[in-house]
Each structure stands twice: as structure tokens, then as C-alpha cells.
């Protein structure tokens, strides 16, 4: 292929999956249809932060989040904490 500007020979390079034709004479670059978009896409990917690691699937049950209006949940690592607010007391009456 000949350079449309200086008519010197053009060579094809492959850069990160994008075909680039570069002129041996004037160093001008020719892009095929869609290749400018491909370069833009690559640029965006490089600028963006890495994707977050996939969220761990919550174990069933007690990792199930409460609804949006739920109280901030305390982590009950110790038995003593478990009776905060009375624990099971509310589960014994038809209140």
C-alpha cells in the first residue's frame, strides 16, 4: 500500500489488536474503518480503575442483609452481646 500523502511504501503494524498502516517515508499513519474507535476504547480501559473484584456470594441466612430501613447490625461475636435490647424477649409475646 502506498502513502496517500508522499506515495512512499506503508507498512502494517499490529498494536494491541489495532491494525495501523504507517508510511516509511513521512511516518504518517492510516487507520482503517473502526480503528480510531478501537483506539479510543483501549484508551478508556487503560484510564479506568480496575474493575472491583466480584462480590462474594453471601452465605445463606445470617449474611442476608436487612432491608434499607434496617438498623445498623452489630457483629455478635460474643455471647454477651447477643442479648442486646433483650434478645429473644420480643419473640415471646403477641405484642
Amino acid at each position: 500500500m502506498q502513502c496517500p500523502k508522499c506515495h512512499a511504501n506503508m507498512r502494517t503494524y499490529d498494536r494491541m489488536g489495532v491494525h495501523i498502516d504507517q508510511c516509511d517515508g513521512c511516518r504518517g499513519v492510516f487507520l482503517d474503518y473502526g480503528e480510531l474507535e478501537a483506539i479510543t476504547r483501549l484508551e478508556t480501559q487503560m484510564a479506568a480503575p480496575p474493575p472491583p473484584p466480584p462480590a462474594a456470594y453471601p452465605p445463606p441466612g445470617y449474611a442476608q442483609p436487612a432491608p434499607a430501613w434496617g438498623a445498623p447490625q452489630v457483629h455478635y461475636g460474643h455471647h454477651g452481646h447477643r442479648r442486646k435490647h433483650g434478645g429473644l424477649a420480643g419473640l415471646f409475646y403477641s405484642s
Binding site: 445463606p60 449474611a63 432491608p67 438498623a71 434478645g87 403477641s94
Partner: protein
């Protein structure tokens, strides 16, 4: 009531809740239901409890027909051993969950005739009406604003046989754990049977581990009320309703007894504030 039980045995009062009285005479438990209880509706609930298909789930009555004693509707039951109170380690949460999951497998069409509705939504509506009528301000307004975030609760999409007022005080051991108290038994949205622990958990009163034991056992048993992937999709509305109901009952009891709210009751009122914040466009109050 004395006519219903053997001579020569002294009755022991087991529970007095308002006008409801439960006594034990020997191996028989006698319950005087609320004044004005409809014997026909209660009778339909007693027949459900006496259905042999449900005998492993609900404590069957000694007689499915309520009797009138001095104008009060009275029912008789075999004696059972209640859940010892307030020990999360030994509380039969998994057993409760399995009983409810099994109960929820029964649909209205499984029984002849029209079944009574579950009393849970009615109990909720009655409590809110009582709070409105109380003239209480302050915290009561928070509770009523949270109530205003709720959609109508009387047209459930999914119908099953429900206990209608489940909590750990509604179980006895009598040849295995059985559900007791049929006053709200009937057809309704089964998610309401999980709503009380769900509400207490969301309010920060019931810890995540205890709630998780109950919910896991329910979903593992194939309980129809919730999806294991997103249980709160079905629980959100009934849990909000139970937060409102329990907060309203707490405020009414506080007014009646002249006592301040305890920590758990305060947490329920605070939850009403959070419900309103999470539904800003709906809380008309």
C-alpha cells in the same frame, strides 16, 4: 369452665392477657377467648387445627367445637410444655421454621369449604386504629408516619395456610413441637408468619445469628413465603407492618401502665423513623 374438666383437680392459671384467660386443670388446658370472639369463625379455625393432615404441625384441640360458658367462647386443649423463655441457644427456632414451612405448603383448596382468613393483617390494622384513637402524640406520630409507607395489606398475591401470630410463645412440646393458639389461624400471605422475627432483626433487637438460624431453616425446608435468594422481597412489607404494630403496642402499653419504653421498644420506634426516611414520598402521616 369447671363443667368441662374433671372434679377434684384445682385449676392453675397459666396466662391472663387482657380478657383472655388460659387455665390448666390436670392434663387439660382451657382457654376463654376474647369477649366477642365469633364462635363460627373460631370453630372453622378449630376444624383446621383438628384436621389430621395438620396434626404433626398444630396441636389438635380436644374438641373442635367451641362451647359458650357464661357468654364466653371456651376451647379445650391437651397440655403441652412451653418453650423455656429467653435462651437463644436452646430456642427451637429451626423446629419452628420447619413447622411453619410445612404449614405453608397447605393451600386453601386443600380443605373443603371457605377457610377463615389469617388474622395477622386484621390484628395489625386493629393496633394502628387503637394507636390513632389513643390521642398519643410524639412517638405515636412517628409510628403512624411509618404506617403510611405501607401498601394495603389485605390482598396478598400468594395464599397459604398461616398461623397468623407466630412467635416462640406459640409452641409447645406435646409429642414433638406443635404450634398452638388458633385465634389468627387461616388463609393469608405466609410471609406474615416470619414477620415478627424479621421485624425484630431489622430493628436491631434480634441478632443476625439467631435470625439466620430461623430463616435458613425455613428456606432449607422449602418454605413458600420467601425466596432463599432474596427473602426481603417478600418480608419487607410484613416486617415493616410488624415494626409498626409492635411499636404501637409498646406505646399503648406505656400509656396504660405509666412506664417508659424499654431498650427494645425504643429500637422499634427508632425503626419507624428509618422506615419513613427510606420511603420519603410515601410517609404522609
Amino acid at each position: 369452665m369447671a363443667a368441662l374438666v374433671p372434679d377434684g383437680v384445682d385449676p392453675v392459671v397459666l396466662a391472663v392477657r387482657g380478657d383472655v384467660v388460659v387455665i390448666r386443670v390436670g392434663e387439660v388446658v382451657v382457654k376463654a377467648h376474647e369477649p366477642g370472639a365469633d364462635p363460627a369463625v373460631l370453630g372453622a379455625r378449630m376444624r383446621l387445627a383438628g384436621d389430621p393432615r395438620l396434626s404433626g404441625l398444630l396441636l389438635p384441640p380436644l374438641d373442635v367445637s367451641p362451647v359458650l360458658v357464661h357468654g364466653r367462647v371456651v376451647t379445650t386443649w391437651p397440655l403441652g410444655r412451653p418453650v423455656p423463655e429467653r435462651d437463644p441457644e436452646t430456642a427451637p427456632l429451626e423446629e419452628a421454621a420447619r413447622l411453619l414451612a410445612a404449614l405453608h405448603e397447605f393451600k386453601p383448596a386443600d380443605f373443603a369449604g371457605v377457610q377463615p382468613p389469617s388474622g395477622a393483617p386484621h390484628r395489625f390494622a386493629r393496633t394502628v386504629a387503637d394507636l390513632r384513637a389513643s390521642g398519643l402524640g410524639g412517638d405515636a406520630r412517628k409510628v403512624l408516619r411509618a404506617f403510611a409507607t405501607l401498601p394495603p395489606v389485605d390482598a396478598p398475591a400468594h395464599l397459604a395456610v398461616c398461623h397468623g401470630d407466630w412467635h416462640l410463645g406459640q409452641m409447645v412440646e406435646a409429642g414433638g413441637w406443635r404450634l398452638i393458639d388458633v385465634d389468627d389461624l387461616g388463609v393469608g400471605d405466609p410471609a406474615w408468619d416470619l414477620a415478627r422475627p424479621a421485624a425484630l432483626h431489622a430493628a436491631g433487637v434480634l441478632d443476625a445469628e439467631t435470625w439466620g438460624r430461623f430463616l435458613d431453616a425455613y428456606t432449607a425446608a422449602g418454605g413458600a413465603a420467601v425466596s432463599a435468594v432474596d427473602p426481603w422481597a417478600a418480608l419487607d412489607v410484613p416486617a415493616r407492618a410488624l415494626v409498626v404494630q409492635m411499636a404501637a403496642r409498646a406505646l399503648l402499653a406505656s400509656q396504660r401502665d405509666g412506664k417508659p419504653l424499654d431498650e427494645a421498644q425504643e429500637a422499634l420506634v427508632e425503626s419507624c423513623d428509618r422506615i419513613v426516611s427510606a420511603h420519603p414520598h410515601m410517609a404522609r402521616g
